[in-house]
């Protein structure tokens, strides 16, 4: 099922608007990540799609028909809560079968049928044999999978997951991520999940929607939003980023007081602007004729496969962060306190 969100607004009493005219479309069968910092409105959007919150204004379409006035029950969504919200007084099997058992008599499957379906779903989430356990007797990762099986039991048209891995430790999170991706490919549900972890969003989703201050900043495939961010916010949020305040003259960018350009061939108007470059887009160079930067390597730390350098540059208030891969022939020459020369292999300039 595809979902269209048009100009949705939502404000909670006494707070700044949670959603500020947000529009987004979810294509049928895709796995979409809603990525944003806390307080950006991503969970509110998910709850509005589920029908757990009512928008102040705007339109919500399921497969092209208005869904805004449908109740939670009528929307038939599978919602997985951040803390799972498993029913603690019910066994795993009862939890999974809850949605089927709660149906009105006319549409309710028989008891053996419900049991069969629960067992089937528990097999799908690889929890066979735990039917008679209670939620408190399960680990975090197992609870998460029970919550997922419970949501899938009602054959939802869309699966909504709120910070699905937020409460798990790093190892379990990694395993579950891969497992969820496989499950999605296997079942083909349209899935929307909320996260504040960019790595999770990039690794897991077909498309990422970056949300900030109640609006969508950018939607695109993971490589798209990472390599060609649409705004300074997206650039900064998708990973470490150096900001260089520069003056642009005829397509060449100069740091304050410098005569050698940092970069040239830019297609931006003359005047002051900020250039953004990721630490791995800064490379060592020995060529001092082209655009580049000279400075002092202040702090040098070794990380797996790379060298992390904080570089002091004249005319720049902040240290430039660079990651030099150990595949670079000159990486051993970088010593604290020594002068180094770098050039930007890739940079972003956004219209202000």
């Amino acid at each position: 099922m595809d979902i269209q969100v048009h100009d949705i607004r939502k404000a909670f009493d006494g707070h700044a608007a949670a959603l500020n005219g947000l529009s987004l479309s979810v294509t049928s069968g895709e796995l979409l990540a809603l990525l944003g910092p806390s307080g950006s409105g991503k969970t509110t959007l998910l709850r509005i799609i589920a029908g757990l919150e009512t928008p102040d204004s705007g339109r919500l379409l399921f497969n092209g028909t208005d869904a805004a006035h449908r109740s939670v029950q009528e929307r038939n969504v599978g919602f997985v809560f951040q803390h799972y919200a498993l029913f603690r007084h019910m066994t795993v099997a009862q939890n999974v079968g809850f949605g089927l058992a709660a149906r009105p008599r006319a549409r309710r499957p028989s008891r053996p049928e419900i049991r069969r379906r629960s067992e089937e779903l528990l097999a799908l989430v690889q929890l066979q044999g735990l039917e008679h356990r209670y939620p408190t007797q399960l680990s975090g990762g197992q609870r998460q999978r029970v919550a997922l099986a419970r949501a899938l039991a009602v054959e939802p048209t869309v699966l909504l997951l709120d910070e699905p891995f937020g409460a798990l430790d790093a190892k379990v999170r990694k395993d579950l991520r891969r497992w969820l991706r496989d499950l999605h490919d296997h079942t083909g549900h349209t899935t929307v999940f909320v996260t504040h972890d960019q790595e999770e969003a990039l690794e897991l989703s077909d498309r990422v929607a970056i949300i900030n201050a109640g609006r969508v900043e950018q939607v695109g495939r993971p490589s798209e939003v990472y390599l060609t961010p649409a705004s300074a916010f997206v650039c900064g949020f998708m990973g470490a980023c150096n900001g260089l305040p520069v003056q642009v003259r005829d397509g060449a960018a100069f740091l304050n007081g410098a005569t050698r350009p940092v970069a040239d061939g830019l297609r931006v108007a003359d005047g002051p602007t900020v250039m953004y470059a990721r630490p791995h887009d800064v490379a060592l160079t020995t060529d001092d004729t082209g655009p580049g930067l000279c400075g002092i390597a202040e702090a040098v730390r070794v990380a797996p496969g790379l060298l992390r350098v904080d570089m002091a540059v004249p005319g720049l208030d902040t240290r430039l962060e660079l990651d030099i891969p150990m595949s670079d022939a000159h990486w051993t020459a970088v010593r604290p306190g020594q002068p180094i020369q770098v050039r930007l292999t890739h940079c972003h300039v956004f219209p202000s």
Binding site: D13, G51, L52, V72, G78, F87, A102, R150, V154
Partner: protein, 310 residues
Amino acid sequence: MDSAPRHPPSPIGEPPLTRALLIGTALAFLGLFLLLPLVAVFIEAFRLGPGAWIAAITEPDALAALRLTLLVAAIAVPLNVVFGVAAAWAIAKFEFPGKAVLITLIDLPFSVSPVISGLVYVLLFGGGGVLGPWLKAQGIEILFAVPGIVLATLFVTLPFVARELIPLMQDQGASDEEAALSLGASGWHTFRTVTLPNIRWGLLYGVLLCNARAMGEFGAVSVVSGHIRGLTNTVPLHVEILYNEYNFPAAFAVASLLAVLALVTLVLKTALEARLGSGTTPSPSVREHATAWISRSTTSAKPSTVMPPP
């Protein structure tokens, strides 16, 4: 020389003498002020033998008082459950204007003397009261009749269930209910299969305390009852009358029933606390009031044991 390993004194522990002194003082105090009076009630109750005890509690006025007390509790407790669950639900799951006022109002019966609670009803329904003359004209008797006793009991027991459930439900949040709704369950189905099981132990705890207070209430009921023997006397009021008539064995015999109620309540309460213990503990305010009232419901109905017999 002893070969046993010697334990160095714990750096944060008290010297043995201090410890013995503190524990001894606490035990002596408990024995003197709690255990001794309780034992005295039963000794006095059975002073003339079991026959006299049975006679005292099967006497028609005593039976009428018992019936009335049970009737009042049977009306007040279910009404309080309905109100308590509704109020706690509203406060814990929704945001609305006047919420803080409602929470404060629920606590009002805890902070007002029961005598005042009773007087409020006298002012409302009495002959010179606001509603009294009109109700009298309709032939409806509230004051010095069963409805007045029920109303006064309802007022003083109002906070028990609500106060117990509010922190519990606030702590549990609304996500279980939201999960049930998103799975297609109706509101009623959600309440029955998700909300009620989540609050059942807290609810039972509230019911238990509410019941103890409803049966033991003296002050407010005393003001509105009119003390008509066989008609508007509850058990605590009946004890007072017997005591004022110097009929000590009968007074103590009936009082012993209330003492048994208190003991049963305490045992059940402890058992429920163990069930609740793993999850949310009952709110301290209710515990304090409950404990105070359970002891008061025995003492208020029980003549002072230090008084010499005439």
